[in-house]
Symmetry: C2
Amino acid sequence: MTPPGSPSRGATSSSAKRGPGGRGAGLSRGQIVDRAIALMDAEGPQAMTLRRLARELGVEAPALYWHFADKGDLCREVVRTVGERLEVSSTTRGTPRRRLEHHFHAVRDHWRAHPGVLELSRQFPPSAAGSVARRGLELVEELGVAPRDSLDCYRSLSWTVTGFVILEQTLGQSVHHRRIGPSRWVLDLDDGSAPSAFDTDELFRTTLGLALDGLERRAR
Amino acid sequence: MTPPGSPSRGATSSSAKRGPGGRGAGLSRGQIVDRAIALMDAEGPQAMTLRRLARELGVEAPALYWHFADKGDLCREVVRTVGERLEVSSTTRGTPRRRLEHHFHAVRDHWRAHPGVLELSRQFPPSAAGSVARRGLELVEELGVAPRDSLDCYRSLSWTVTGFVILEQTLGQSVHHRRIGPSRWVLDLDDGSAPSAFDTDELFRTTLGLALDGLERRAR
């Protein structure tokens, strides 16, 4: 909080704490959430502090407290907002297999676009996760998997995809992997075995393809 | 470092820094590595400092430097030692499918036994990873997958299993999951959808089963 009379960046900041006439009202919740998402995606959830966010938005921190009780409150809204975007983008047409492919490609693309929020989703309820899972579960049953097996199968697919995305996001931290293109990497274990190149987009298609081929085998 | 003349825990600690007669020689490399593995598995790689390790072994830190140049040197040895144990335990008999199941169950069991070392393996060369992968690759080809596809398929299976283990290890940090048994959890998204229970051992069998069923479909 800015002490009374201390130097402040903006001319009106000392009246910004509360009320529709202050700076808190000049900023919408949506603007704050969008900037928070961008900051977390670029630098990770740790980088997102209300102080840093206020600086980027050109306001004092109290203006943010007009909209959010604390960082936890803002994080909850970030996870909810990002989750809603996934909900919209995972609907499509075609055969159940085609729609399941689309569903999980959308999940991967979603988390690739929001790497910082994936980590945060363990701590705050991902509001849309339930409805995304229900849609995926329906698709597994439409493919012909018995309802008694469908949840277990959907959960397996979901873990396969989420685990893939987590590994993909940490390749940059691995001393054994070297990036050679937007989705191309070289694995070099430095143990005498030959280095091998792979493409994460192709690898994702294979990984999801194997699981969906297996799923089709369990369909009636 | 203990300053000369300061109180010390052990009677011989001031002569422990170097040479076969000091405490450095009294402790074997294997003893130090075993204790380091146990500490990392119990509390994570961050908890493992040479100072902490020396305290647990009842020696002064310099005794450890007699065996290892620095923490990085010890970590490298930890990853190598743990990797060698996996190499031994992943061999078995039976059909290629059965041996692939055993192979990946061994990988999961291995990382479950050494959660701290999984994280460390991104930073230090996992010496046995190459030979484990070569054996897995052979099994994929024995199953009947064409050599031109086998590496991509093995890598997909490996990512599926490693991603599963990472998710499994972080369930305890998720606010949405509650443990109700050794391998049983309840997922509650707190969004109006019904909580659902699952067993990670069963889920692993399903996840690996789907991928291996898919793999068999690609076999000649």
